[in-house]
């Protein structure tokens, strides 16, 4: 420590001291540098100290400090009454405090802080922590006596902004009120947080109680938190969304209220109880939401917590509405398990989940087990929900084991569904990167014995009778649009059912293929409502936006391919000539056919 000082005693040689002035050029201590220290004392006007300092990190700003006691009494008890402290560090920090200090020694003192006002405009070099015109008002007291140390503080922040990456808080909109009282036993270092209550305007409040023991061999910091969130909507916006930046749920919306009670020991959560009331969660990017969520969740870091309950009144996955459901869950340290069959109504059917297990939550090794059946859902209602042309029939089936590993959702077995009196199986279904920037679906599909009459019945495409098989291999969906597949649809081999195709269906097949329409309705064939056919076949190899088409086989002329092979008289063969069709064009044609014919259906 380097001290350069000058002492000036003013007053007559025999008289009492009237004034003492002390100047110290510089004091360098660990973590503290004082410059131009000046202290003065006069019996009438009290005492004052003034210095220039460089504030320690993280503020690290030059500042001037002034301390002044209106009445300084020195004796058994040294007291500074009506004291005032000012600190001026420019825009970084302005602080002004007033109060009284009574000092009998380091073991017995008392500080009464009548008022403290601070304006903080701090910004760390890396920009991760910053505040702008953050205004704090506080008052409190601290004392030490035989019973130890006690402190009590009341703090309000009602204007300015604060940013602690990634959280941003505008205190003008959400004023903060904090009151805390702390205790420390004599001679000990264990700090007990008797209470700390914190209210954030428009969001909620929290109370904390705990103990901090920096000297214990294994640090034993215990904190009990109880938070009451009155607005989950604001809490999600301020506290959840910033953490979710760069994921597919960074637009998370929430509503309702929540109560959380948790115990944290050594920064590790030990137990948590969460109640949700009339809560709602949704994400447009992910395309899902649940409303009217009531939950009573119990979690323990080790040991078995009581069973948890989760219920909602309605929800949606994409355009698919979900009904009310209630789940009994057992939460595990890093996962959960379903205790009872979970029934989720979907339209007139529903999903019955028998097994649902999640493990490794919050880590990269997230895994899931899933087993469910789909109770038959009316296809017409399903199509209405998705805005598709209405198909008749039902869809149902079994959803076999599902596993989530390495950013990939994989179904172990086959997914089966019954629709149009036939069967649809989905094999090798995988969802890649389900929560990432590029969610993709890949699968192989097989269609067996689909009743074409049912399929075309509601669809205003034209009536076709017969049975249809199909194989779609290497189907890849990106954003729910097929981008690659090798699709093959064909009349079920050996099918003995009635094979008829209506004039309109033939017309539509030929117009989608780019051929002329209305050919049949002009000639003598217009008297025939429908025709017998032998086989239908269509193949599309989709790659890079182009569908390479084919049919049952080559046409007689060697250039085209047969889409519909007629039978008996009058025999009609439909031959396609376009080999490469842009997928977008093909879809547009299919759509326009469906729309154009919708009017005709109404006339009939």
């Amino acid at each position: 420590m380097a001290i350069a000082c000058a002492l000036l005693l003013a007053g007559g040689p025999a008289a009492a001291v009237e004034r003492i002035e002390l100047s110290v050029g510089r004091i360098d201590g660990p973590g503290l540098q004082l410059r131009e220290l000046r202290a003065d004392w006069q019996p009438g006007t009290g005492a004052g100290v003034q210095a220039r300092v460089v504030l320690p990190a993280p503020l690290a700003a030059p500042a001037t400090v002034r301390l002044r006691c209106a009445r300084l009494e020195i004796g058994d008890e040294t007291s500074c009454l009506h004291g005032e402290a000012r600190l001026d560090a420019g825009a970084a920090l302005q602080l002004r405090a007033s109060g009284d200090l009574r000092w009998q020694g380091p073991e017995r003192w008392r500080l009464q802080l009548a008022a403290l006002q601070a304006t903080l405009g701090y910004s760390s070099a890396d920009g991760r922590i910053a505040s702008e015109a953050l205004r704090l008002d506080a008052n409190g007291s601290a004392l030490q006596d035989r019973a130890g140390r006690r402190a009590q503080i009341e703090l309000r922040a009602s204007s300015g902004q604060a940013y602690v990456e990634p959280l941003f808080l505008d205190l003008g909109q959400h004023p903060l009120h904090l009151s805390a009282s702390l205790r420390q036993a004599p001679g000990g270092v264990r700090v007990t947080l008797a209470t700390l209550s914190l209210t954030l305007g428009g969001i909620g409040s929290a109370t904390l109680a705990g103990a901090l023991d920096p000297a214990a061999p294994a640090q034993h910091h215990r904190l009990d938190v109880r938070a009451e969130l009155t607005s989950l909507a604001t809490a999600a916006e301020l506290f959840a969304r910033p953490w979710l930046a760069g994921t597919r749920i960074d637009d998370l919306q929430a509503g309702g209220g929540a109560t959380l009670a948790a115990t944290v020991v050594d920064a590790q959560p030990q137990r948590a109880e969460l109640q949700l009331r009339a809560a709602a969660f949704g994400s447009d990017k992910l395309g899902g939401r649940v409303d009217g969520v009531e939950a009573d969740l119990h979690w323990r870091a080790d040991g078995t917590p009581p069973p948890s309950q989760l219920a909602w009144t309605s929800g949606a996955i994409g355009a698919l509405p979900l009904g009310a459901a209630r789940a009994a869950l057992q939460l595990r340290p890093r996962g959960l398990a379903l205790l009872d069959t979970l029934q989720i109504p979907i339209l007139d059917g529903g999903l019955r989940v028998f097994t649902l297990g999640l493990d490794g939550l919050g880590g990269s090794a997230l895994s899931a087990d899933f087993d469910a059946t789909l109770d038959p859902i009316d296809l017409a209602a399903l199509c209405r929900a998705f805005g598709w042309p209405e198909f008749g029939g039902q869809i149902g089936g079994r959803l076999p084991g599902l596993r989530l590993r390495d950013r990939e959702l994989r179904f172990d077995g086959q997914l089966r569904a019954q629709a149009f009196d036939g069967e649809l199986t989905v094999d090798a279904l995988r969802v890649l990167d389900p929560l990432g920037v590029l969610p993709r679906v890949s699968a192989d599909l097989a269609i067996r014995r689909l009743d074409l009459a049912q399929l075309t019945g509601a669809f205003s495409f034209g009536r076709i009778e017969g049975r249809l098989d199909g194989d779609v291999r290497g189907l890849r969906l990106l954003g729910w649009q097929p981008v690659a597949m090798d699709a093959h649809l064909y009349t079920t081999p050996g099918d003995r059912s009635r094979h008829r195709i209506s004039q309109r269906a033939i017309d539509n097949i030929s117009s989608i293929g780019g051929g002329p329409s209305g050919v049949l309705s002009r000639g003598a064939l217009r008297f025939f409502e429908d025709f017998a056919y032998d086989r239908i076949g269509w193949r599309c190899r989709l790659d890079d936006g182009v569908c390479r088409m084919d049919g049952i086989g080559p046409a007689k002329d060697g250039r085209g391919y047969v889409l519909v092979k007629g039978r008996l008289l009058p025999r009609i063969d439909v031959v396609g000539y376009n080999r490469d069709v842009a997928w977008a064009t093909f879809l547009a044609q299919l759509k326009s056919v469906a729309q154009a014919n919708a009017a005709q259906v109404q006339v009939k």
């Binding site: 940013y163 990456e165 930046a245 760069g246 960074d250 993709r440």
Partner: protein, 207 residues
């Protein structure tokens, strides 16, 4: 006779092993030049998607290329097709036609309108490892700091996926980091004057 037979057997075995080894070892070298071209094509697409500056008058717009007669264009194209550059024959192009790549590119093109002002202002810069980063967070008002952070996080998520998808689309997933390295150089090389980038040492520099 006996030692001779053993000897020839040994030679045969060695020769067989050599042949087997020669068959098994397949070296697929990273096509650096092709990767550079591929990167340039994507970067041009992503960074040309900016909304036209209102100051640009239509008279100033016509490029010298569009003034070329169409016939000349066709002739050049035919010539290119007949006599392909020797380099193109030896070095295969990287396939950029996968739908995943197109989709990521579209997402990045759409985001560029928001990112460009930040590049121009020097708030966000190009990192040496093929991503973007907030260079000067203190230049952003507190209230919009998270918006910038989200924008940067989303761009980086797309870039990471893009590098991975290009490697996957070409059947060489192990090329991912090399592709990222090539992109890192090309983003910086194609950056507009005044933008900031990270030099090899990690320090920020203005172009």
């Amino acid at each position: 006779m006996k030692p001779v037979r053993t000897h020839s057997g040994l030679i045969a075995a060695l020769a067989g092993a050599a042949v087997a080894a020669a068959c098994v070892t397949i070296n697929v070298y990273f096509p650096a030049a092709a990767a550079e071209k591929a990167a340039d094509r994507i970067i041009d697409d992503v960074w040309s998607a900016a909304p036209k500056a209102p100051a640009t008058t239509p008279e100033a717009a016509p490029s010298p290329q569009s003034a070329l007669p169409a016939a000349q264009h066709v002739a050049l194209a035919v010539l290119d097709w007949l006599v392909p550059p020797a380099q193109a024959q030896q070095q295969p192009n990287l396939d950029l036609s996968s739908p995943e790549i197109s989709r990521l590119k579209t997402q990045m093109e759409n985001r560029y309108a928001d990112l460009k002002p930040l590049f121009d202002a020097g708030t966000v810069g190009l990192t040496q490892d093929g991503y973007v980063a907030v260079r000067d967070p203190n230049a952003v008002p507190l209230a919009s700091r998270n918006t910038v952070r989200t924008l940067v996080a989303n761009e980086n998520a797309d870039r990471a996926a893009l590098y991975r998808e290009i490697a996957t689309a070409n059947g060489q997933p192990q090329w991912e980091s090399q592709i990222r390295g090539v992109f890192a150089q090309r983003w910086i090389a194609k950056a507009q004057p005044g933008w900031w980038y990270q030099a090899a040492g990690g320090q920020w520099q203005r172009k």
